[in-house]
Symmetry: C2
């Protein structure tokens, strides 16, 4: 993060990262598949965390209620450290490769959620639609939250964004 902030992502070489971390480039690649992964280290953990939330939802819950519960958990997990989130997001937003990587992490999360919904008996395409919609809300809400210096907390932003989505999609 230091180097990426100091000189930009592309201008930073793996050799430099390794040097600053006190190891070799070869070793770096034993821990991270590539230069981008550094910024997404926690995403697998987050995904597991959210999957547990999904599975903890009551049997009676509708697909969107399950998604809403997952978003609540996501908000508390992501909603700390706004300053750090902002810095990380600013690095990501200024580089195409990193945006690509971010999108695929979210796509992976979405696929996992859809799979979880299917395991609960939700048929296609409803499972995919609910999961993808949830990720849309997550993304839009997170973006708004990160860009406001001292606005509402993330949970609140997510809830109002989800409400907004319902209104927008059904308005005729």
């Amino acid at each position: 993060m230091q180097l990426y902030v100091e000189r930009g992502f592309e201008q930073t070489t793996v050799a430099e990262i390794a040097k600053r971390a006190g190891l070799t480039a070869r070793t770096f690649f034993r821990y991270f598949a590539d230069k981008r992964e550094v910024l997404f280290a926690g995403s697998a953990d987050l995904q597991e965390h959210l999957m547990r939330a999904l599975e903890a939802a009551p049997n009676s819950a509708s697909p969107m209620q399950v998604v809403s519960a997952v978003l609540d958990v996501a908000a508390t997990a992501l909603g700390q450290h706004r300053e750090h989130s902002r810095q990380r997001q600013s690095v990501i937003n200024t580089n195409a490769e990193l945006r690509e990587r971010e999108l695929i992490k979210l796509a992976s999360l979405s696929a996992a959620l859809a799979e979880g919904l299917r395991r609960r008996g939700v048929p296609e395409p409803d499972a995919s639609l609910a999961a993808e919609t949830g990720i849309v809300v997550l993304r839009v809400a997170f973006e708004r939250w990160v860009s406001e210096p001292h606005g509402a907390d993330l949970s609140q932003t997510m809830r109002t964004t989800l409400d907004r989505l319902k209104t927008v999609t059904t308005a005729r």
Copy 2:
């Protein structure tokens, strides 16, 4: 496409592509920013096409009606050549870098749609939500259409998917 299908994306070298096309690797990179772009050559044109559709929608149309009109146009543009689409999609789906690139193309489209909606006076976050939701429908419908050998046409699939989305998001 030939080479990517024959030996897979990663196993294909730019030198080989260039040779088969009768030119140099250096020249290849003058036409395509990188190895992945070959498969997304038409995406800029498609985006412009859809933006014109967005701008052609009547002033009275609600955000989701505009999106729905855009999806109609997208369906007729993408809905030809199911066989070619299937082959292309199969190459993309078997490689992570290509999936990343596909996602960012769709993200770019989504951003353009949101911007277009904003120009029409739709406020945030409604513009982003409507645009992103539209892309979700596009993606889910396209995936289903491509995986069915002789199913309904893409326009039909898109319409039913959009209906499904409305039901899923509002069911309680």
